[in-house]
Amino acid sequence: MSILINKETKLIVQGITGRDGSFHATRMKAEGTNVVGGVSPGKGGQNIEGIPVFNTVKDAVEATGADTSIIFVPAGFAKDAMMEAADAGLKLVITITEGVPTADVIAALPSLQKSGTKMIGPNCPGLISPGQSMIGIMPPNIFSEGNVGLISRSGTLTYEVVNHLTKNGMGQTTCVGIGGDPVAGLYFIDLLEMYENDPDTEAIVVIGEIGGDAEERTAAYIKEHITKPVVAFIAGQTAPPGKQMGHAGAIISSGSGTAEEKIAAFQAAGVDVAKEPGEIPALLKKRMN
């Protein structure tokens, strides 16, 4: 089992004729993901390495029965692409595009909500259920099938952690990169609930970072609702206040959003917090026996 995506997931790629879109569409297909189509207005009828291209998401859904979409369009077109995916009734949209104005995400979310479409991202690496489906831009070979669910605001830091997990024989049900932007789709709590309900997930890793209070809220939620063991890591303990650390969301505003607060909140909720990524497998093992 897994959350959000599995072998049945039928994926379309929005922006499939762009450089990133075509590259990753091909990679995902090679990895076994069920890539059923792509969208590029005016390129309908063409195909990219055997993947049929459609003019609109609606056309693609009608022709293929797709339920999920991944968005690779340039930042200025991402809002429109999200809304188009929502309007076509997709269940899940993964927005990889980085640099999307926050106001555009805020403006697109009501459309997604209206149609019951879940979104991951923007500015995220996507998600993977090893052995079943990969929808994103991560390096698939570091992942392995298993019983750990992972949620992260970061890209390469996630790979770092997954690498440790896999090397320690701890495979994953699903790993989700929720993205580092200030406003995003599915967030820690939404995904924790899914992992809690997924019978195959036995433990959960949460990788947070400075900025906002999502980790504090997550800690409170875990205390109340999550029975499975959770291990956390927070990046940015040495970040100075008022400076954006790469991710637009990773900024400590005066007096809140610090790593210390987040670590304290997790610890108060009974979550083990790793001092460094390499410590995570040991902490998990301690809790899973």
């Binding site: 930042a75 200025g76 999307v100 104005p101 926050t102 106001a103 555009d104 995400v105 805020i106 979310l109 009501p110 831009i137 390096p139 070979n141 570091i142 992260s152 605001r153 970061s154 890209g155 390469t156 830091l157 996630t158 790979y159 770092e160 690498n163 580092g180 200030p182 406003v183 995003a184 967030y187 990788i207 970072e209 906002g212 209070d213 999502a214 809220r217 890591f233 990046a235 940015g236 303990q237 040495t238 970040a239 100075p240 008022g242 400076k243 954006q244 650390m245 790469g246 991710h247 637009a248 969301g249 990773a250 005066s254 007096g255 809140s256 790593a259 001092k275 460094e276 990524p277 390499g278």
Partner: protein, 377 residues
Amino acid sequence: MKIHEYQAKELFAQYDIPINEGKVCYTVDEVIETYKSYNMLTVVKAQVHVGGRGKAGGVKLANTLEKATTAANNILGMDIKGHKVEKVLVAKAADIEKEYYVGYINDRNTKSAILMVSKEGGVDIEQVAAETPEKIFRYAIDPAMGMPDYLAREIAFKLFDDIKHVRQAAVIFQKLYKLYVEKDATLAEINPMILTPDEKVLAIDAKMTFDDNALYRHPEIEELREADENEKIELFAKSKGFSFVKLDGDIGCMVNGAGLAMATMDMIKLYGGEPANFLDIGGSSNPQKVVDAMNLLLEDKNVKVVMINIFGGITRCDDVARGLITAMEQIKTDIPVVVRLTGTNDKEGQAILRGTDFHAVETMSEAAQKAIELTQS
């Protein structure tokens, strides 16, 4: 992107948000001239991209030409938390009956803009939020609805009882929202918004920041950019495709990915070292990027060691290793470089680096420890 108070007030004026009159001055002479033209109680305020001006002595009242001159002399050129004051706002001081806090920000939890208002204005709102959160009223704004009259009024009634004041505040909430949305702001704050003894509601401070991702559609905001020294370096880094923040340590960091970059700084600190910077070189790590990043790091004369931490994902580690060697051939430096490569084909990558000038290691913790050791040699 940050702008100064005087610039935010110019935007307020464009949106008909009432403010107290003022003028930005770059020299003591300009301050004197401005004071003379006002000839009334005046406030001289440092214009810097950092909070806490008041506590640092960067805001002074003056009711005589002499005091205005002294204030100008003291404030212009002063250093506030590492920011040199190059200009001041000289503004007519308003009579204050009461002070309020008004601020729009984007909120991760409601996934919308929110308006926060409080009767506790003129003080540090973060402190109010921490100590008496019930004194802050928060309203999530539905982007489809915006700030309709009834909502603006409803919120204004939280601050005022008199409908005359309510109507003025409601209009300010609406105009500030329009400004916030139309210019893709990420913060629009009035602290304080005041009620004067003659029952006018106006903004006597103004703070705005803007979404860097949206600046492409707001050239008029981009034009307001007045970067100070640190910001100029960060902007230069950005032009190369990097995210860069300068710090005070001696270990220069070069990492692909923001989260991993933060974790790398944390790791250095964990083992007793001090990072000289945050540097995310982004997704790929081609030789030219490494050259550019190295040049950026080496501009900081405090840097004694460079630590490169790359996760080879789609790009394989053996390719990255070869790229690093190519890059370092172009850079003449005696600064030792610790390299840690993980991910796809990491063993092969590490093997390639063995026997080169690079200090190649296998894990982040080894890398941090090695870098710290080298700073001490």
